[in-house]
């Protein structure tokens, strides 16, 4: 199947450090592709390169076959890519609904920009749908800053889905979550693949093995393995990277 | 041509240099306060005016001018410490530090300016010149005091640079501004460092006031006019950069001095501000970096 996302020799260096070093990878539609690797392996930097937060030193990024290497975050978003952040990155003084509304109004044409906020229409329907799906009924008018960590992480995912992306990039969505929340999020992520393709960074190996269709292992900026969870687990290079330092 | 150089251009450039040094003295305090405390001190011009009025008042009471050069800056220290402790520190950790500290110092400036008006009246004073007369420097005639100003200004600038960049004290202050918590955990008393750095900046403003009083007139709003130029210098040089302020100060005052030979002097100010706007547009961090964060 044609990949939804693929990169060719994507690289960036900070000073002398090659943070991301010639990464070629791809993500298949409606699958969950997970990037794993020890701390400092360059996973988040790779995410930043793909999502337009950083411009690569060299290499290419293709989204749905289209070269998007030089796209900024807003352009990429219009091309169908949405991402979440490792550190919760929301509008903390606004309510849940205001956050979702802000993310959803991108669905409406620019000519609606200075019309009153509508209670109907595509954006409003999307907000209702997300509140339903992510179970924010009781918190609709709560300020995001007062939500629990787990709720904030969930909202982060909901915000990304508001624009109906083709590819959803989640940077450690379960980071700092309780066990119960983690399990819930795991189920949620699995259920999302009906509508979107997912590129995931995850630390929790349990989740990685259970949700991923495809795993990419990074170490010191390079890709050292690539395959199904079982293949990756059996790969000696991966074991060395994770356990073999001593 | 030769005579133009001798009688017109060179004196103009030297006078420009005297102004440049003066502006740099004021700008140094501004840039140190921003570089180390991350605060735009809008009341800096008033501290400069206080220095000038302090010199005026004390010299009227019969004190020797050369004593004042040392005394007035010392008297500025408590003023600086009080301002930092009781005003800036109160809003320092708020949500929008840049804006709130700018606003409180703006408010303070209003108060200080009016206090000067109450104490000394709105009129312009001209203190006696301690070094009257002119000096012939290689055929260029220039007022002696201005030469002195250039010389002592250069000494002060070098001394300040030395203290900030080459001494242990400077290193501690820079460390505290770079990472407050780290410095605190290493035993630096960050509160005092901040007060001290602010007082240091204020002292420099006061010193500039004393030094410039005999050249430029002394009046309550003198700070307001001068501070514009000082801000321009600081911005063009790069907020927080000492050398940037020095280079920009000399450059801009020379632009002003030379351009006013060609066009009406009233247009010199817009030209200088125009340079500032251009610099801000194309290199908003100024021509040089900032000291705490190099």
């Amino acid at each position: 199947m044609k990949p939804i996302l693929h990169t060719e020799n994507l690289s960036i260096a900070f000073g002398g450090l090659k943070a991301v070093d010639a990464i070629s990878m791809s993500a298949t539609p409606h699958e969950i592709t997970t990037v794993i690797g020890p701390n400092g392996a360059g996973k988040t930097t790779l995410f930043n390169l793909i999502s337009g937060a950083l411009k690569p030193g060299s290499g290419k990024v293709y989204l749905d076959g289209k070269d998007v290497t030089r796209f900024g975050p807003a352009q990429l978003q219009h091309a169908g890519l949405a991402r979440s952040f490792q550190i919760t990155n929301l509008f903390f003084e606004m309510t849940v609904r205001e956050n979702l509304r802000l993310a959803s109004q991108i669905l409406e044409p620019i000519s609606h920009a200075v019309r009153p906020l509508r209670r109907t229409g595509r954006a409003a329907r999307k907000v209702d749908e997300l509140i339903e799906r992510f179970d924010f009924h009781d918190k609709v008018h709560e300020q995001v800053g007062y939500l629990s960590h787990g709720e904030q992480r969930r909202l982060e995912i909901a915000m990304c889905l508001a624009c109906e992306p083709k590819l959803l990039m989640l940077d450690e969505p379960t980071q700092g979550m309780s066990h119960a929340d983690t399990d819930e999020t795991e189920e949620l992520i699995k259920s999302l693949t009906q509508n979107v393709s997912i590129l995931l960074i995850e630390h929790d190996i349990g989740i990685v093995m259970s949700v991923s269709d495809h795993v990419i292992v990074m170490h010191q900026g390079q890709k050292i393995a690539d395959g199904t969870p079982a293949e990756v687990r059996a790969n000696p290079a991966v074991q060395a990277a994770y356990f073999g330092h001593g | 041509m030769e005579s133009y150089l001798h009688y017109v251009l060179a004196p103009q450039m030297l006078n420009g240099l005297a102004l440049g040094i003066s502006v740099i003295l004021v700008a140094l305090g501004l840039t140190i306060i921003f570089g180390l405390l991350d605060v735009i001190n809008m009341s800096h011009g008033e501290f400069y005016a206080i220095g000038a009025f302090g010199a005026l008042a004390l010299s009227l009471s019969g004190m020797n001018y050369w004593v004042l050069i040392a005394l007035v800056p010392l008297l500025m220290i408590p003023l600086g410490i009080i301002t930092e402790r009781y005003l800036i520190r109160r809003v320092y950790d708020g949500a929008d530090r840049h804006v709130t500290t700018l606003l409180v110092t703006f408010g303070l400036g209003l108060i200080l300016e009016d206090i000067l008006k109450i104490l000394f009246g709105p009129n312009t004073h001209r203190p006696a010149n301690p070094l009257p007369g002119a000096t012939d420097l290689f055929g260029i005639v220039i007022p002696t005091y201005r030469l002195f100003l250039i010389a002592i200004g250069a000494v002060v600038i070098l001394a300040v640079t030395f203290v900030v960049y080459r001494t242990r004290l400077g290193a501690i202050v820079r460390a505290a501004s770079f990472d407050r918590n780290m410095a605190a955990s290493l035993g630096v008393r960050v509160g005092w460092v901040y007060s001290g750095a602010f007082a240091f900046g204020v002292t420099l403003a006061g010193l500039a006031g004393v030094l410039l009083a005999p050249v430029y007139s002394v009046f309550p709003t003198m700070g307001r006019d001068f501070i514009l130029l000082a801000f321009t210098v600081v911005i063009v040089g790069g907020l927080g950069s000492i050398w940037g302020a020095v280079i920009a100060g000399i450059f801009l005052t020379q632009v002003q001095a030379i351009s006013s030979l060609v066009i009406s002097p009233v247009w010199a100010d817009p030209i200088v501000f125009g340079v500032m706007v251009l610099v801000l547009m194309f290199r908003p961090q100024g021509l040089f970096g900032r000291m705490g964060h190099a």
């Binding site: 807003a74 952040f85 309510t95 | 911005i235």
Partner: protein, 342 residues
């Protein structure tokens, strides 16, 4: 129940209505006592309130502190004065002032919107100084004397004609202009566009990842602020009969910032409260002593330290709670009514 941002804006409207009510009562008193001084002072307060409103658009919604907003106020005032001295037409003066400030706002925005934070404050300060100095030195614009001899206007408003020389009529006209400007700006910030501007202030880095351009909304915000300042500035020579370069100086811009901080940043209406308060304070204190700057400085610092949300901020939270409760009750009543029908 509605969004907090909507509740907040509705609370502002309530404060607007309160100010309007107080204003009209005072006007009635002034008319009854045959006063013209306070009517004209009130008119001036409203005009300066327009400048403050413009500062609040940038500071309270865009998160950008402008220290040179008087630039656009001054441009509006000068253009209006220049037109009125040739052709005494209210509408022509307003149209010209709007057009020129629109243009100036676009140019200024292109310059200022390249930077943020402190640099924005300083560049706006610098731009205003440059223009003020140029005006100050241009003989064709009256140089340091400004432009005098703006004739007393007859303003045709459809069915009636109002004279700018009539303090009551001109006050009401100014009040109407300010009401329209306030309403327009308040509306703008409740639209999807407004939401993006507010989001930019809260978390600029996140906004592009939601697909929004960050430059465009900021630019529009800046130009709208310039227009508000310019339009109210155009009223100034009609009131005073002259314009002077002081209008563009830092003192004017700084005063507007004081008004906004005093009234309440980010409330729109706070700017008008601040303007009224400061203008009358200056007038009252100024009648006892010429040292009113101390009083203003002390009050200003007091406001920053102890009332960071200004006068409006003191009363707003409880008003918002009331509005929410009111909404919940009406919602409940509606649900009950429809439930019974079903």
């Amino acid at each position: 129940m509605r969004d907090r941002l909507d509740i907040s804006m509705r609370a502002n409207h309530v404060f607007f209505a309160v100010l309007m009510g107080i204003g009209l009562i005072c006007v009635a008193l002034a008319v009854a006592m045959n006063d013209t001084f306070y009517l004209r002072l009130g008119t001036e307060a409203l005009i300066l309130g327009g400048l403050a409103l413009s500062v609040d658009i940038l500071l309270g919604f865009g998160g950008l502190l402008s220290l040179g907003q008087a630039l656009y106020f001054g441009i509006g005032a000068y253009v209006s004065a220049l037109v009125l001295r040739e052709v005494p037409s209210f509408w022509l003066a307003m149209a010209a002032a709007t057009g020129v400030t629109l243009l100036a706002g676009i140019i200024g925005g292109l310059i200022a919107n390249r930077v943020r934070g402190v640099y924005f404050a300083l560049i706006t300060f610098g731009m205003a100084q440059v223009v003020a100095k140029v005006v100050y030195n241009t003989r064709e614009l009256g140089a340091s004397d400004g432009l005098i001899g703006v004739p007393v206007l007859e303003i045709p408003l459809g069915v009636i004609t109002v004279s700018a020389g009539d303090p009551l009529a001109f006050f009401l006209l100014t009040l109407s202009v300010l009401t329209i400007l306030y309403a327009a700006v308040a509306y703008l910030f409740t639209t999807p566009f407004g939401r993006v501007v507010i989001a930019l202030k809260a978390n600029e880095k996140r906004v592009p990842f939601l697909g929004y351009n960050t430059w465009g909304p900021r630019m529009v915000c800046y130009v709208v602020a310039a227009l508000v300042a310019g339009i109210t500035g155009a009223l100034y020579p009609m009131l005073r009969g002259f314009v002077s370069p002081e209008l563009m100086f830092f003192a004017s811009s700084g005063n507007a910032v004081i008004m906004v901080v005093l009234g309440g940043v980010g409330t729109l209406i706070g700017a008008l409260y601040g303007a009224v308060l400061l203008t009358f304070l200056k007038s009252v204190v100024g009648s006892y002593t010429e040292h009113h700057l101390i009083a203003i400085g002390v009050i200003f610092i007091f406001a920053i330290l102890f009332m960071p949300k200004g006068i409006i901020g003191v009363a707003k939270p409880s008003l918002e709670r009331r509005l929410i409760r009111f909404d919940e009750q009406t919602d409940a009543a509606r649900i009950k009514a429809t439930g019974e029908r079903a």
